[in-house]
Amino acid sequence: MPAEKIPNNLTIDLNSIPEVNPDYFVGPILPEEHGAFHDNTESNFESVVEEKSNAQNNEEIALWQSGLDSIQQFIESPTNENDPRVMDILEESTNNLASLGDEAEDLVSTANEGQRLRLEKLQHELRFGLQNTDLPFSNLKKSEVQPTALWFEYDPINSQYMRNFQVCLDMLGSGPHQNNEMDDFQKHFGEYESALSTAIKLKEELEKCNINPSQLVRTPMQRKGWLILAFGDSNKPYKLEIELTIQGMKQAYLKHKDVLEQLNSDENKYPPYTKPLVEDVAKFHKELRCSIEEIPTTLSSEQKQVLQKFLPALDEFYKDRIDAIVGNECYVPLAGRLKQVQEAVFKSRSLATILEASKDLDQTMQRLYLLHWVAESLIKAVINEKQHLHPLTKKGEPVYHVTAGSGLYSIRKNTSPLLNSLEDMQGAITFRNEIAHKGLVWAPEDFKVHIKNYEQGIDILSQHFSISLAEVSPEIESKRFDKRPHMKKMHEKLQQEFGIDINLAQKYARKLLENSLSDYLSFETNPEALEQKTKLIHKFIENGEFLNTEYGVTHGVLKNKLLKNLDSIDLSGIKIKADLRNKKDPHGLSAYLIAKLINKAKAEEFDEEYKKLSQIINNILGK
C-alpha cells in the first residue's frame, strides 16, 4: 500500500528548507551604528539584542512550522492514499510484474524442455544418425530397378474397370494432342472427348462397388486427369505450390537485385561476384515444392514477369553445377545424384562419359545445360582441328571467342551437307540461350524435344568430322576469367598486345590481372583514358619477372617500377610482412597495392597516389 512505502524514520534536511535573507529583518550594519554599538550602554545593547533575537526566533519558528505543516499535509493527506492515478499506476505495474513472472517461469520450463529434447535428439542422432556419405540416396539408374515382388489381382471383373479408368485418366491428363503411348487406348475408346464421358461412367461403376476411385491415381498424368474429373480444372492444386515458389523467387530477386540486373543488362561489363546469389538459389532449389520444369503451366502475367527476372539466377546456378561436375571451381558442392555423375566424370575425363551420365537426369533443365556444354566443347574441338570453318581462328591458339551458337552457325555455313541436318540443333541452342539471357518462358514438353535435338546433333557432328567423343576431354577453366565471351576477347588482346602467358598470370598475379582487366573494360568507352590505361598496364605487365617467380611480384614490380620514385625502403621487410599477413597468397599485399594504384590512377592524380602509397608502406614497416 502507498502508506507503507514511505519510510518510518523521517529525517528532514534543513538545506531543503529555503533560506531567508538575514537583512530582511536585521537590516544592513552601517558604520555609524557600528560606532554607536560600542558607545552605547549595556542596557541599550541588551534590549537591542533581545528584540533582534525575539524577531529571529519568531520568524524561524514560523518557518519551521510552515515546513512541517507542509510535510505533515503531504504525509497525512487522505488524497495521497486514495488518489486514483497512483492506484492505477501501481496496479498496472503489479499486474505487469506478475505476468512477467509467469512468462519467465513458462520460458524457463520451455527452455528446460527444449534442452532436454535437444539432448535426446543429439543422443539419438549420434546413435543412429547418418553422415553425409551414408545418406540414403539411391544409386540405381532408371533401367537398373528390377521387379522383385509377386503380385495378384483382387477381382478380375472389377480390375478391368480399374485399368480402363487409369487409362482414361492418363488420356485426360496428357491433353487433347495425340501421343504414341496412347495408341492402345485409341483402339478401345477413340478420341479425347469420349475419354471424359467414359471416365465419368467408370467412376460411377467403381463407386457402386465400394472402390474409392481416387486411390487409383498413381502418376502425375493420372493426377491431372483426376483433377479434371473432380474440379473441371487440372491446375487448381498446382496453383498454391507454384505461388509459394514464385514468392520465394521474388524474395531472392529483391535480395540480389543489383547482381541480377548487372548480369543481363550489358554484356561488356565485368561479370559480378555471384557467390551469395548461387548459394541462395541452391537453398531455394532444395526446398522447391514442384519441379522447375512444371512451373510455367499456370502463371499469371505478373508471375511470369517475376520468373523472367529470376531466370539469370537459375542460369548462374546451373552453370555452377556444371563447373562442379567437370572439376572447375564451384561455389556450391554437389550431393546425391549429381555427385554420382561427378564421380563418373572424374574416373575418365571425356565427353562420352558425360553424355552417358547425363541420361540419369531425365528430361530436366540440368540435363539441357549439360548437353549444351558438351556441344560447345565439341564444336570448339572441331574448329580447333579445322580452322577453315571459322574465319577468326588461327592454328595453335585456344578458341576463346567461339560460343556454341556462332560456332555451329559457321560450321553449317562452310559444310554444305550439315546445313539442313543440324537445323534442329541450332534451334535447341537458341532455345537454351533464350532461357538464359532473354527470359523465355518454356513449356514443360519443350525439354523432351530439345534434349533429343542436342543428342542427335552431337552424334551427327562426331560422325561427320570423325571425332570420337571418348578422346575429347573437357578443359578446366578458372571461374571468373574464361566464363564469358567478352572476357575471352580481352584475354586475346592482352596476349597479342603484351605477350603474356595468361595461364602463368592466373597462377601468380591473379588479383592484379582481374583488377586491371576490370578497369581495362570500364575505360573502354573513353579512347583517351584507354590509351593511358594501356600504357600503365604495359608498364606493369611488360616486365616478365613477376610472372615467372612466386615472390616476383614484390621484388620485380615494386623495385623496378614503383620504388625508384619513393624514399629508400628495405624490400626484404616488405616481402616478409606480406608473407606474414596472408600466407595463402604471398603476393597478396603487393598485388593489392599495385591494383589500388591501377584502379585510382589517372594522369592528374598520379603523384598523389604515389604519396599515399609511400605512406601506406611506411605504416606497414613501422616508420
Binding site: 515382388a149 495378384f152 498413381r218
Partner: protein, 193 residues
Amino acid sequence: MSRLEQASNSVAQRTKKITRALVKARKNLLEQENLQTGGSKLYLRGTFISFEEASQRLQIRIEGDHYYYPLSDYYGSWIPRPNSPVIITRMATNNKEIAIQGFDRQGLSIPYSEILALEVRSVDDRNGVIAAYSDEIGFFQINLPESIIEKGAIVPGKMQLFRRVTAIPKTFLIPHHCNNTSRNPLDIYRMTR
C-alpha cells in the same frame, strides 16, 4: 506525485522491454528446436512422384533431383498418391537397407504393411504363375516377375513371409526377410498377429 509517476512509468517501460526480450527468446527457442544439429541427419525428405507397375519402381524427388527406388524398399501398406511427402531412412538394425515411409497429403503416416505367410503349392515356370495358400485368403494364383523365377527364390511346399502392399487393382507381395534366424518365421508371424 510526479516522482511516483516517473518511477511507475519507468517500471512499465522496463516491463515492455523485458516482454519483448521474452518473445524473442521464445521464438529463438522454438526455431532452434527445429534445426538439425550438425552434419548427421536421420532421414531425407522427399516428394513421391509416380509408381510404375511393370518395373516396380518408385520415382521420388529429393532436393530438386529425381531418384529411383525399388518397391522392396517401401514399408507402407499402400502406395501414396503423387506429390505427397515421403521420408527415406536406413534401417537401424542393418545400416545398409533403405526404408521408405509414405505420408498422406494431410501429413498422417501410412501404416506399416501387414505380413502374410504363404505356402507355395505348385509353380508354373512357363506361365509365370504360382498356386499358393494362406490362412487369410485361401487358395489363389500369384503372378511372378521373371527375375524371381531366375533366382529360384521361391520353393514349393515351404512357408514364407511377405509384406503386402496394395496398389489397386493389384496387390504386391514383397519377400520379407527376418533377421532372427534362430526363430521359426511362423512364430514371428503369429506374434505379429
